[in-house]
Symmetry: C2
Subunit: 339 residues, 2 copies
Amino acid sequence: MVTIYDIAKKANVSAMTVSRVINNSGKIKETTRKKVEQAIKDLSYVPNSAARSLISNQTKTLGLLLPDISNPFFAKLARGAEDKALELGYRVLLCNTDEDAAKEMNYIDMVLSARVDGVLIAPTCDQSLEQIDRLSDHGIPVVLIDRTIEGFQGDYVLGDSYEGSRKLMEHLISLGHHNIAFINGPSNVSTARERLRGYLETLKLNALPIYEHYISEIDFKNVQSGATKKIIEQLLCLEPSKKPSAIFAANNFIAISTIKALKELGLQVPDDISVVCFDEVEPVVYFDPFFTVASQPAQEFGKIGVQFLIERLSGGYQEDERKVVLSPDILIRKSTRSL
Amino acid sequence: MVTIYDIAKKANVSAMTVSRVINNSGKIKETTRKKVEQAIKDLSYVPNSAARSLISNQTKTLGLLLPDISNPFFAKLARGAEDKALELGYRVLLCNTDEDAAKEMNYIDMVLSARVDGVLIAPTCDQSLEQIDRLSDHGIPVVLIDRTIEGFQGDYVLGDSYEGSRKLMEHLISLGHHNIAFINGPSNVSTARERLRGYLETLKLNALPIYEHYISEIDFKNVQSGATKKIIEQLLCLEPSKKPSAIFAANNFIAISTIKALKELGLQVPDDISVVCFDEVEPVVYFDPFFTVASQPAQEFGKIGVQFLIERLSGGYQEDERKVVLSPDILIRKSTRSL
DNA sequence: TCATTTTATGTTACCGGTAACATTTTATGA
DNA sequence: TCATAAAATGTTACCGGTAACATAAAATGA
């Protein structure tokens, strides 16, 4: 591999002069600069980031930890993050945690070892705090995206799950639905708690009863293995007057598996049952907007997250924590109908 | 930041001994190992990859260059790649080229500077060869995914675009469609050429005429800006007997914009016109399989690609180039109908 | 018991850059 | 013309690890 010394030799100058040319620092005679630049071109030299990192103590690299890049919501988020990182001269290391705390822990080790300058993370659960603290202990700034954690100190960018939940519920109630089941994500994730809060509060505000058996929890892996069907079956077993006329799915993946299960059980959406959820179901939405959703600006999460992160790590922002909570858009489409 | 010297001092040994404990190399007395491990834990030391890279001349990092992570096809591919990389102890740097040769070039500089051990790339076009050669010149192995390039020397993993195209066309023809329009991607991408070849050949084999005005090209950016509509409008302007009864969209994004345009023009799929395409339209397919597609194993592309790449860079495989061409699955669903 | 292995640990130099300081060259002005 | 400032370039040491070699400590055996 070509080093700065090879260039120096070829251009008949010292390595330091080459370094100055590359970094445009110090005073360099025009003829020398030309010579050096020619040598760089001739030998197609590219500086070694590792060597630079060792001195500068920064890698110009960010860690991006999210559950699963093949979930369009997180893919959009990642895209926003990568775009902003590129714009600001940073690289992105991609990590899929699969909502798995153990995987997450290993990735934290990895990014620590990689000496990333900062970490953008959608934590798997509240227990992630311990791992995040390890990052902070090492002086690595962390920005949370999509989810927060109780006791976390620092910036975050999330959607307003409570508000979205409130509005989706109000929409269903306004359509005449009183028996609304709620299939939530794991309650050790902040979004799930907030969505539940919105669900319960809206029922209360509308003087509607809360049925415990309407509320269920399902995690990422069980959604993937099709366990949603069991939950739906149980809901459909209820006595006719208690049978839900609508289902509030806490996210797009749950919604998809819900629709699939309903279909397998011979039920049509929205004719037999209405369904709402969080997050767009991309890219269908572009040609056949079907789901009534609380749409979140995923790409913005990523962009703002990286912006905050880099402001922190470059010392450009030292003030209080910035907690950004973006409102979701409620998009009423074809998965809900009036009773 | 805690270094190996801090550990050495704390444990009252030399830095070398600490290094040996960490890497499990050489002979270490059990009591010494314990002491060192305790110190590592106490100071929560994590080795600095940059320093290691400098000596070992490897970064355990791969570059992943693809058009756009928010395209579910590439997201799946990325997921497969990242999974395999993790399994084999490698990290992944994510790069979105947006089918833009200039962006691609900058990323090549970036991965060169980052001294990645290898690069997995879905090149933007045939002209990418020059950039890829720069990587090879620096001794960095490259594996192509999804697309190949004329004159490229090395491994690749792609789908069989020709075969998929042949089968989609045969399907349409078997349904009685003779007037089939083809909206292709840019012809400087190998997949587009192969799909066109399949299109033309199938018509020929079935003794059907080839109409030049049935064939059009559209690039990524124009698809996003909605330019598909103009193409569709022109197709619908043709005299009744020449009006296409089916459209072959070269990829899922083109298919989506096609359906959208058709809808805006008041046409129903498949009642008024049939549509087929390459690649699944995720995640709709899980609950409402609509598109008749040539489905490609994107995740496998990523996995095999990384596997090949790491075999190359670790010197485990030195034989001839491996050209893997995976057959697509033809899945007949609801976007096509018999005439 | 003491030379000889074997085992355990330490020293030095280097990977490829750059900060800090040193030195040489050129320009400036009295 | 020559002291002096300014400009251009060079030297040295270090960032945090580890390979290669050196040495000390413990184990072995005749």
